[in-house]
């Protein structure tokens, strides 16, 4: 649909249905009308034939063998003047002419010359009104055995027939029109009823926009369920992210207070030892830096969303390995990248890079030249990064993941990378575990991310 005709769904359906309905009813009316007209015409023709036979049956012959029609016909319409039914008989031999009494005072003349056995039906203009005429040629064998040829013709005025057809048409269009109107009304109501859920969704969205509701409530037809549940999860995703931003901001402000207080103390102190002041400054700046970068990472992790695209894990792993190869050129990292082409991650590319970058760099930094990255897709996406370093003591598995959360007590080292990874995994509703690498003997980090 072009921009010129921007109709609502309701209008479109109504317009289309009305067009179809009127076309259907129009064609029906036309077909019924045509059928009725030809039926009445056929009936008329049959009647004309039976009239001719009746004339023949009523005919007698006089002494000369000439045809003689009765004074009074059995069909009263032949007797009553201007009845609309007229008959005419003429003989080919001699000058026999006969007209039915109904033609009193009229000049007929619709009779045609016909061969015996021949018949013809035609229209004829009888004194200004149209009539249907049947001319019928017969051979009459008189009592002397002579064969005399006659033509019998019967004409019936079409005016009554026309009136009948017109009456039929009137009532036909009245009924069809009435039915059309009724159907349109019903259809309008059906459309309103059918589109009601859409209007309700729009209304509910307005409610959310104005802040009166925070989810799409209520039962919707199953065609809309996908849409409404997607909208709901988008909304909750946005809310969760907003909450995370708010939390991070709060944490950030809060955790910066301590180093700021220390700095203020240093600034106000009448220092007799500039070296210790400088040392304190340095420590606090380092601490603030770690706090800021940790909170930034945490807030930036976008987390999974219903509508995020899936992206291939393999190229990301390869790019990071290629980059780390440069940085750790001297260690000559021996990579084993066990990632299938079709392994997919549902989420943001930046998050995946952050996740793998931190874990793979840790493996390069704390391992001893051997790094094994594995990815598998089952119901979830499973990622594993292993190295051949000294590993992490068993009793510190948990604390090393937790360390990042105590931002103001953060220590440099493996913990930062791991806690960033843990934050991202949490944002996706996944799981992170630390263990011992079975083959390489160093650290093994296992990640389970939903919906791989």
């Amino acid at each position: 649909m072009g921009t010129a005709l921007n109709l609502s769904i309701h209008q479109r359906l109504l317009l289309a249905a009305s067009l179809v309905l009127s076309a259907f009813l129009g064609l029906t009316g036309f077909a019924l009308d045509k059928a009725f007209r030809s039926a009445t015409e056929e009936a008329l023709q049959a009647r004309l034939f039976s009239n001719v036979y009746a004339l023949l049956a009523a005919a007698e012959e006089d002494q000369t063998g000439q045809l003689k029609m009765p004074e009074v016909m059995t069909d009263p319409r032949f007797n009553r003047p201007d009845s609309g039914l007229y008959a005419q008989v003429s003989g080919r031999q001699g000058n026999y002419r006969w007209q039915s009494p109904s033609s009193l005072g009229r000049r007929l003349g619709f009779l045609r010359q016909m061969q015996p056995g021949e018949s013809k039906i035609e229209r004829f203009n009888l004194h200004g009104s149209s009539a249907m005429v049947l001319s019928f040629g017969v051979v009459w064998e008189d009592f002397q055995g002579r064969e005399l040829e006659y033509v019998l013709a019967v004409a019936e005025d079409l005016k009554p027939l026309r009136e009948q057809v017109a009456a039929f048409r009137d009532s036909l269009f009245l009924w069809l029109g009435g039915a059309a109107l009724l159907l349109l009304l019903v259809q309008g109501w059906v459309l309103r009823w059918g589109l009601q859920p859409l209007r309700e969704v729009a209304q509910a969205l307005t409610e959310i926009e104005s802040g009166r509701a925070d989810q799409l409530q209520g039962d919707y037809p199953k065609e809309l369920n996908g849409l409404t549940s997607n909208i709901n999860s988008l909304i909750s995703h946005a809310q969760a992210r907003q909450q995370r931003y708010r939390d991070s901001l709060g944490d950030l402000a809060h955790s910066l207070k301590t180093p700021l207080a220390v700095l203020q103390a240093v600034a106000e102190e009448e220092s007799d030892n500039p070296r210790t002041s400088q040392e304190t400054l340095r420590e606090q700046v380092e601490r603030m830096n770690q706090i800021v970068s940790h909170q930034l990472q945490r807030a930036a992790a976008s987390g999974s969303s219903v509508l995020t695209q899936s992206l291939a894990v393999k190229p990301v792993v390869e790019r990071i390995a290629g980059s780390l190869d440069k940085v750790y050129r001297e260690q000559k990292i021996n990579w084993v990248l066990d990632v299938a082409e079709e392994t997919l991650f549902r989420g943001d590319e930046g998050d995946l890079m952050e996740l793998l970058g931190n874990l793979m760099e840790n493996a390069c930094k704390y391992g001893d030249g051997h790094v094994h990255v594995q990815a598998q897709t089952g119901r979830d996406l499973y990622l594993r990064v292993e190295d051949n370093g000294k590993g992490i003591p068993r009793d510190q598995f948990e604390t090393v993941l937790q360390r990042g959360h105590r931002a103001d007590q953060q220590l440099p080292g493996q913990g930062i990378g791991l806690s960033v990874a843990a934050d991202i995994v949490a944002a996706y509703g996944g799981r992170i575990e630390i263990g011992v690498a079975e083959q390489l003997g160093g650290v093994a980090v296992h990640l389970h991310l939903p919906g791989g």
């Binding site: 700046v285 970068s293 930036a300 790019r319 290629g322 980059s323 440069k326 050129r329 001297e330 930046g350």
Partner: protein, 224 residues
């Protein structure tokens, strides 16, 4: 060693340049990508420090330009955002290492040192040739384990020669990589440094650590 420093923030660039000069580096600094490209193209740079967010020509673009010009000196990128997308992009563009801002100058110096050694094909911070050992971290030289007293310029000349041990180094190379651009480039002073180095490293003229190739330059000739 000549360092190209491209950083738009003067409060970072100036103190850093000063620190580097104090460490014996010759520093060419620029405040935007275009000026950085000019310096990188015109001078014999040994190592580059390039910030990613630069005006006129971004750090990434600058690195790409330098690499297409066949400038293969190692490059360290500085990034404020510190996310992996930036790091990977920079390393893929042709950088060799990265450092996230804010950083400790000590760490930067250690990385520069490592990059320079790597570009000369050394994997250890201590460069050795015959009885001569040069520690790039402490900037000290020993002969048979005994310390040798060198002036700053003598050390610079020896370090450059040992880093490129086995390769012919012209006097122009030496002046370019050791002097600031506005200094007097008198090749005689190089000859003086070399003569003094020979005297200090090989007083008995037994090892002949520095060869003179007539008309071409010098070569550090002792085996690694």
């Amino acid at each position: 060693m000549r360092v190209l420093l491209v950083e738009d923030e003067a409060d970072i660039r100036e103190p850093l340049a000063q620190k580097l000069r104090k460490q014996g580096y010759t520093v060419d600094s620029a405040e935007d990508g275009a000026a950085g490209l000019f310096l990188g193209r015109e001078y014999g740079i040994d190592v580059g420090i390039i910030d990613i967010g630069l005006p006129k020509l971004s750090g990434i673009e600058l690195i790409r330009e330098l690499r297409t010009l066949d400038k293969d000196f190692p490059i360290l990128i500085l990034t404020a955002r510190g996310n992996w997308q930036d790091k990977v992009e920079g390393l893929e563009a042709g950088a060799d290492d990265y450092l996230v801002k804010p950083f400790h100058v000590e760490e930067l110096l250690a990385r520069l040192n490592a990059l320079l050694r790597r570009s000369g094909g050394w994997s250890q911070p201590v460069l050795s040739g015959g009885p001569v050992e040069l520690d790039t971290r402490t900037q000290t030289v020993t002969l048979h384990g005994d310390p040798v007293d060198l002036t700053a310029y003598e050390y610079k000349v020896l370090e450059y020669m040992m880093l490129h041990a086995g390769k012919v180094i012209s006097k122009t190379d030496l002046t370019e990589h050791i002097y600031d651009q506005d200094w007097d480039r008198d090749s005689n002073t190089i000859e003086v440094f070399v003569r003094r180095l020979r005297k200090k490293l090989d007083p008995d003229e037994r090892y002949k650590p520095i060869e003179t190739l007539r008309g071409r330059g010098y070569r550090f000739a002792l085996e690694r």
